[in-house]
């Protein structure tokens, strides 16, 4: 267990940006759900079982008479389809993690994925435990945020509008960190440009799936040029 204590201690600083972001977008979710007439316990339940930022924002609208389960599944699928990509970079890493891998897979949100993929594990800590600690802590922030929003969303003592920019800033920082390694630049640009083009063509609500297809296509077409040593996925 001492290994875990060390892992949590070492992992915590890396999760602080997610802490800030998740607390506040979690609160926003809790407030929205409470406005639909659901107590904070329901918000906690959803954050424990579903654990998906934009998915849960959208999900709040499902709780109306007449909604069909097919609709719930289809819309959730559409908003979360980008997650299908994430595991591909983490196959090797997670498959070495025994039973813990099921939780790791469950917890693959945008933010957790980005941290898991881009954080260099400190030398004096067990990698598996370190990664596990990141995932667990991130979900805790999300659950706490949702609960707070459900309980006391209306009493937040300051204007928190725009605080969710913390997530954007986190991804921008990771983008720059990745940019420092030359071999990441072309794929990064492919991802960003494909998303931008797709956003222009298909609009805010429908651009992710076409963007993903575009990204995979370009990555395949340009494989010879992009290809490099394939040793350790995610690094």
């Amino acid at each position: 267990m001492s290994g875990y204590k060390q892992a949590f201690k070492k992992a915590f600083p890396y999760t602080i940006p997610v802490l800030t972001g998740y607390l506040f977008i979690g609160i926003a979710f809790g407030v929205m759900y409470a406005e639909k007439g659901y107590s904070f316990l329901w918000a906690i339940l959803m954050s424990v079982l579903v654990y998906a930022g934009s998915g849960q924002y959208l999900g709040v609208n499902f709780f109306v008479p007449g909604i069909s389960f097919l609709q719930v599944i289809f819309l959730t699928l559409m908003v979360n389809v980008r997650h299908i990509f994430y595991g591909i970079s983490l196959l090797k890493k997670f498959n070495n993690m025994g039973k813990k891998r099921w939780y790791m897979i469950f917890g693959l949100t945008d933010e957790t994925y980005s941290l898991l993929c881009t954080t260099n594990v400190p030398e004096d800590v067990d990698e598996e435990k370190f990664l596990f600690a990141i995932s667990i802590m991130n979900q805790c922030y999300w659950i706490i945020g949702s609960a707070l929003g459900g309980i006391a969303g209306d009493f937040i003592p300051f204007n928190s509008e725009g605080i969710d920019f913390a997530m954007t800033a986190l991804f921008v920082v990771i983008f720059i960190e990745q940019w420092m390694s030359k071999e990441n630049r072309v794929p990064e640009l492919i991802g960003a440009v494909a998303a931008l083009i797709s956003l222009q063509i298909f609009g805010v609500d429908r651009f992710v799936l076409p963007a993903m297809l575009m990204i995979v296509t370009v990555l395949f077409v340009g494989r010879k040029k992009i290809d490099r040593e394939v040793n350790d996925p995610c690094h």
Binding site: W42, I84, A169, F171
Partner: protein, 110 residues
């Protein structure tokens, strides 16, 4: 509550299973112990940075570009994060300052 507890719970369950399905799919396609095809290994390596590029756009997708405030708060804040980060390489500093700047911009300036 607009719906009864059972229906509400089932909706949450449906969301949970669907979300998990998107996350587990690659692991079911390429189960433990089986050699991952070279093509997929290649994708695994190049998709990580590509996804980061996509996520930056995803986060900024709601930015209003063609009418006031023309995406200026986002542009300034992202630029600040980039400059700070290239200069200091301190994650928390870049994210913290960028976020506070953005909040000030949209609450007090624009």
């Amino acid at each position: 509550m607009p719906l009864d507890a059972k229906t509400s719970f089932l909706i949450i369950l449906a969301m949970a299973l669907t979300t998990f399905a998107t996350r587990v799919a690659p692991f079911l396609l390429f189960p433990k112990g089986r050699e991952v095809p070279k093509t997929v290994q290649y994708l695994g390596v190049v998709l990580a940075p590509a996804v980061i590029g996509m996520l930056v756009v995803y986060c900024l997708k709601g930015t209003v570009v063609f009418s006031y405030p023309y995406g200026i708060p986002e542009l300034i804040s992202v630029a600040a994060v980039v400059i700070l980060h290239v200069w200091k390489r301190n994650n928390l500093l870049s994210i913290g300052c960028g976020t506070i700047l953005y909040m000030v911009l949209i609450q007090a300036v624009f």
